[in-house]
């Protein structure tokens, strides 16, 4: 798919950058003319993915790097790729199960939110090298409904 516009950014694994990442992705996605509700859903998804990089991939070390690439594709499609260079995931299928968490006081809902609020999610990971989460959503809902 043709990329209409994209933005790539690199942030540090600091908790205060989670809201910054949400705000940036929200501002960029607004170029698609989404509703406020849609933007809020996208922000939630980004919040989950970036939090995962900090908590799981980097085990709360700051000073590590997270990269985010946001692309606006054809048909009002938003693609977000969130990447870390942290500890990686051994068994992707099992961590994708709803309520699975490796941390006792977390809810294991991060990936569930990502899957629910986006049309498509792909997780690539290599233990010891890092994880990349690719999320996609098309905002052609009106047309979709019309054709349904």
């Amino acid at each position: 798919m043709n990329v209409r516009n994209y933005c790539k950014f690199e942030i540090l694994s600091l908790p205060e950058n989670i809201s910054f990442a949400r705000a940036c992705v929200g501002a960029f996605a607004s170029q698609l003319g989404c509703t406020i509700d849609e933007i809020e859903e996208v922000k939630l998804v980004v919040s989950e993915a970036v939090s995962n990089c900090i908590i799981h991939a980097y085990e709360n070390r700051s000073n590590e790097i997270i990269t985010i690439v946001i692309s606006l594709l054809e048909n009002r499609t938003l693609e977000i790729i969130i990447e870390d260079y942290g500890k990686g995931i051994e068994d992707i299928d099992s961590v994708l199960q709803p309520t699975y968490s490796s941390e006792p006081n977390r809810m294991g809902l991060g990936f569930t939110f990502m899957k629910s609020f986006m049309d498509d999610m792909e997780v690539l990971s290599k233990p010891g090298e890092g994880t990349s989460v690719q999320l996609k959503r098309s905002f052609l809902t009106k047309d979709k409904e019309a054709y349904a």
Binding site: P15, E16, I18, S19, R22, D37, E40, K43, L44, S47, E48, S51, I54, I55, N105, R106, M107, L109, G110, F113, S116
Partner: protein, 113 residues
């Protein structure tokens, strides 16, 4: 994120404001727990009128506080959640554990029964 705590008899009222994500989850957890470890406290009211965002880190704090309150046989209430936030609370199923109320007065009415 601002957190304001107030005790009314055996009920702890927590009013928070802002975005409830990982950055503030830890702070909020420890502030609430410090007060809650006071043995008098049995019930918890979480006023979310001014919370504009919540993610699963925020949900985790709520669920954890619910578990603590339940272990004391107390009750937990969430008050005034905005539609965006309410949607996430329902999505997570927390609304089945915690009583969802419109405002603090509704809780008092509920408790009165």
């Amino acid at each position: 994120m601002d957190v304001e705590l107030r005790q009314v008899r055996n009920t702890l009222i927590v009013r928070c404001e802002g975005e409830l994500d990982m950055l503030v989850a830890d702070k909020m957890r420890s502030e609430i727990d410090k007060k809650m470890d006071n043995n008098e406290i049995k019930n918890l009211i979480l006023n979310m009128e001014k919370v504009s965002f919540i993610d699963s880190s925020g949900l985790g704090v709520i669920l954890g506080r619910y578990k603590k309150i339940s272990s004391k046989n107390g009750r937990m209430y969430i008050v005034g959640a905005r539609p965006q936030v309410e949607k996430i609370l329902y999505f997570s199923g927390i609304n089945k554990l915690v009583s969802m109320c419109r405002n603090e007065q509704d809780v008092i009415n509920l408790q009165g029964r």
